[in-house]
């Protein structure tokens, strides 16, 4: 009990620290550059308290429940030796962690609002929801594929930079054919996907895998999964934009 209280406090401290630089920068600009005080200060304050509370519970819950079991599973699959199940697990891990990523939920919602205002889709909850869902599942699917590819790379010892360069070429070629409205969202989706839930679990999988195969350097082979997970969503969302 005492340990979980300690964990809770440390995650509270962590989320305050995440938010602090933003609050400081914005306060500085409001006071010294713009010389204004925002009129809805109370609403913003309540909102920020919600953000801190939310992040605290979120991280605390992850550390209590998801991370230990996820990491031990990643380790189990990495050392067990069944390549088939390992690849399936890699896909499922990439997909599952990305679908639940809060930053992605928020940005997909925002994208659906913007698309609705611009007349790309109908302005009603149903159309917007299905657009946001479509976007999120596309991204999650692509992260799943990316992690699978990344694991395959570690197993086969393919050089990372060739694969990244093939990805770049795909992005560049597809940008030429994709509609203008999707390009910004697609490029952004690469950075959005990899945050709080995905990074620790995926890194655990990569490092566990690289240290259990003999003759591999965790530094070179363990990292690089996130790079795929930031690149492939661009390709898939561009494709999503071409299809709808």
């Amino acid at each position: 009990m005492k340990r979980s209280l300690q964990l809770f406090l440390s995650s509270l401290f962590g989320s305050l620290r995440d938010l602090l630089p933003i609050v400081l920068v914005i306060a500085f600009f409001q006071l010294f550059v713009l010389d204004q005080t925002p009129d809805n200060l109370l609403q913003i304050f309540i909102g920020l308290v919600f953000v801190v509370l939310g992040l605290t519970f979120f991280i605390f819950g992850l550390e209590q429940g998801l991370f230990p079991i996820g990491e031990s599973m990643a380790h189990a699959f990495a050392t067990k030796g069944s390549a088939f199940w390992l690849l399936i697990f890699a896909f499922a891990l990439g997909f599952g962690t990305t679908v639940a990523e809060p930053a992605l939920i928020a940005v997909a919602d925002e994208a659906s609002k913007v698309a609705a205002e611009a007349g790309l889709i109908e302005i009603n909850d149903q159309a917007m929801n299905s657009y946001a869902k479509g976007l999120r599942y596309t991204v999650a699917f692509s992260v799943g594929v990316a992690i699978t590819l990344g694991v395959l790379r570690i197993l086969m010892n393919w050089p990372i930079h060739f694969m990244i360069m093939i990805g770049y070429v795909m992005v560049i070629v597809m940008t030429g054919f994709a509609p203008d409205e999707i390009i910004g969202i697609a490029y952004d989706s690469g950075g959005v996907t990899t945050s709080t839930i995905t990074v620790p679990l995926v890194t655990a999988l990569g490092i566990g895998l690289a240290s259990s195969i003999s003759g591999r350097n965790p530094m070179v082979d363990g990292f690089g999964l996130i790079a795929f997970a930031s690149l492939l969503p661009i390709v898939f969302v561009l494709a999503y934009g071409m299809i709808i």
Binding site: G14, R17, D18, L19, P21, I22, F29, V33, P38, F45, I46, L48, V49, V51, L53, G54, L55, F57, F58, F60, G61, E63, G65, L66, I69, M73, W85, F95, G96, T97, A100, P102, I105, A106, V107, E110, V114, E117, A140, H161, M165, Y168, I172, T175, I183, G184, Y187, D188, G190, G191, S195, I197, N217, M219, G222, F223, G224, I226, A229, S230
Partner: protein, 280 residues
């Protein structure tokens, strides 16, 4: 209050959002690993906290971070404000928006330098590289990359240039750098792009971009509003590899110099018969 009316439906939506990961974890645990989950109660409680946490976070986002991002964008591009700080004469030029770029730079640098995930990665890199890559140096490189990326991204929105020109040139730079960087740093540099944009930064930055595209004359949110996060994930790759190249270069030069001075002192020592080492 609106806030509390939204709560139940948002909670339900979040429940379905995190359902896949629960299904995956338990599915694999029961079907493939076939062992009982240790501390099942704790895991379930953890998932419940995650559910509550995401719901609160999304509510707070809607109430605070999105409005702040938008209002900062509209305040900094407000024509009245621009009139008081502008540096060009006649029509507004891109350089009159300099406070926007400074703001973006400050947000990027401030949120990245303290990022815990980054600190951990930097310590690991320092350890593996045998001290050639400094912990603070790497953190500063990533923070600078994110800051410059965001500033460049806001500049792109202000002038309204197509973003793929910037991103593709960035890719070309990354590819060229890859060939000249120390091999160890390459995967780390590639990862640093995705890792640095945290859960708090992403929504704020997204709102800033959309707000700018709404308020700068002639921009459309759909075409110009997105893309800031892409810049923030691309530039750290460049700055991290540049930092690694720089420290390798410095290291090589220092060891060359050390070699020369060593030679000099060993000659001198032979003459004097003493062995004091002042080469460093």
């Amino acid at each position: 209050m609106q806030l509390f009316n939204d709560f139940p439906s948002l909670l339900l939506a979040t429940f379905f959002d995190i359902l896949p990961i629960a299904v995956i974890i338990f599915g694999f645990q029961f079907l493939v690993i076939r062992k009982r989950v240790k501390n099942l109660k704790k895991v379930l409680m953890g998932m419940f906290y995650v559910l509550i946490g995401i719901t609160f976070f999304l509510l707070g986002l809607e109430e605070a971070l999105f409005p702040i991002g938008r209002s900062m964008a509209s305040q900094l591009t407000n024509p009245e404000f621009l009139q008081t700080v502008r540096i060009s004469i006649g029509e507004l030029q891109w350089q009159d928006y300099y406070w926007v770029y400074i703001f973006a730079f400050a947000v990027g640098a401030g949120t990245t330098i303290a990022e815990p995930a980054l600190i951990a990665v930097a310590m690991k890199a320092n350890e593996v590289s045998g001290g050639a890559i400094g912990v603070f140096g790497l953190r500063a490189a990533v923070a600078l990359g994110v800051a410059v990326g965001l500033a460049l991204g806001t500049y792109r929105i202000v002038i309204g240039a197509p973003m793929h020109y910037f991103i593709i040139s960035g890719y070309v730079i990354v590819v060229i750098q890859t060939f000249f960087s120390p091999r160890l740093i390459v995967p780390l540099a590639y990862d640093s792009g995705g890792v640095t944009t945290s859960t708090v930064t992403v929504p704020l930055v997204a709102a800033l971009g959309l707000g700018l595209a709404e308020t700068v004359p002639g921009r459309s949110p759909l075409i110009d509003g997105f893309g800031l996060i892409a810049f923030a994930s691309l530039c750290p790759m460049i700055s991290v590899m540049a930092y690694a190249q720089l420290s390798e270069f410095k290291d090589a030069r220092a060891s060359k110099k050390r070699l020369k001075t060593d030679e000099y002192y060993s000659k001198k020592n032979k003459l004097n018969g003493s062995d004091d080492d002042t080469s460093d």
